[in-house]
Assembly symmetry: C2
Homo-oligomer: 247 residues x 2
């Protein structure tokens, strides 16, 4: 890219990155989307290492992925990413996903908060990171996906319970944001996910979760092709909400 404010990485779907439909699994794609965000932030001078010197870190507030189709085994795809806008408390980073012929196969939109790692409080981005406004890309691809309404969960019994283990935990000692996706999908029946690909996945993060803490996923079928999900702590606190819309 000639403009450093737009970044891209190319990936190839490995044989062990498929889900039961023989396409790239959504959690692997989400991991690559998050990695592209990290890589680009690093190059822009606002990555993990640079921020940690000031005791700051980016944390996911929301992530939305909408795919028209998922790449197959050995297929290459490119994730292009840019910071779309920044407000006082949120940086909005968008993504377009292309197949090897350059056709758009999906989009993603992410919202990040800047956190003080000691107080765990959100920081005013314009004050704490004044150069950030210069990182916003003036021209960029379209990202025609919008946030839908909030997930509404009425279920009273959990569909799936677990405690975060070693592989769920990041360097901060917190539950890795991308691993939430695996656990949300783990609460849905395999029969459903085998039959129909996930067209759209939305997740919002509210409260941090920790190693070995008992957590439960509650699911409500909002429509025939739509599931609303909540991840709750034992005291009922909602740690995260998600919505899954099938193709």
């Amino acid at each position: 890219m000639s403009d450093s404010r737009i970044f891209e990485s190319r990936f190839t779907v490995g044989g062990f990155q498929l889900d039961s439909t023989l396409h790239l699994s959504l959690p692997v794609l989400a991991n690559h989307i998050a990695s592209v965000a990290s890589d680009h932030a690093e190059r822009l001078g606002i990555g993990r290492v640079a921020l940690l010197e000031h005791r700051q870190a980016w944390v996911f507030s929301r992530l939305l992925i909408q795919m028209e189709r998922y790449p197959s085994e050995y297929e290459s795809y490119t994730i292009r990413s840019w910071i779309d806008s920044v407000s006082r408390f949120f940086s909005n980073r968008n993504f377009a996903i292309y197949d090897a012929q350059g056709g758009v196969i999906g989009h993603a939109a992410s919202v990040w908060a800047l956190m003080d790692v000691d107080s765990r409080q959100a920081l005013d981005i314009k004050e704490a990171l004044p150069g950030h406004a210069d990182c916003v890309a003036p021209e960029h691809p379209d990202c025609p996906i919008t946030r839908t309404s909030r997930a509404r969960v009425t279920a009273t019994e959990p569909a799936y319970t677990f405690r975060p283990r070693y592989c769920d935990i990041d360097y901060n000692g917190h539950f890795n944001s991308i691993r939430y996706i695996e656990h949300f999908l783990g609460a849905l029946p395999l029969e459903v996910l085998k039959e129909r690909p996930i067209h759209r996945f939305e997740i919002g993060y509210s409260t941090e979760c920790h190693y070995d803490e008992p957590l439960a996923v509650y699911v409500t079928a909002a429509a025939a092709d739509e599931y609303d999900l909540e991840l709750r702590k034992t005291d009922g606190t909602v740690a995260s909400r998600a919505k899954v819309i099938l193709k």
Copy 2:
């Protein structure tokens, strides 16, 4: 590579592929090792799609990974792989892992069986896949790691129980071999894995596991730096054994 019997792929450690020590996580590395094996098999004409036409599939029998060090965030590394030898029932594929300067940072050795996907029985490789012997690389890097003695688990209480969920299941409807590693590591205390990297990880697969089946991991500390693990079904059948040796 000029000799198609040796294959390599380059990777870069993404920000969301780190474990709590801020290095490439072992399950992500294992996934890439398995993907390199799949990619190479595909190019050799003995990959998943070609084999499935004859109702055959490769299945992991054993995997051993030994790392001198793990790559850090944004560090690039190369996995080189070749088929070392083949016997009647097993194909032995080895791996060397290099940093960006070409220094060896680790090795892996894998043993694969060829299975009839309908009968789930192991096939005689020389009969079922006569061209396989030509895929063995006559010259290749060293892979100076040997299989150690079998894991011996005396624990009577499980350290961790779970049921395989959507993300654990491969296209065959079976528990993805690489996901076993995450669940084995999930049975070890985070404090231990945060302090000392995993020098060596060995896993052997005995019995297939399925979606939503109740499974339990039993752990015995074989030495101060060594854990023996078993994955057992409710009837006591050992589905898999593993050994973890810390650095």
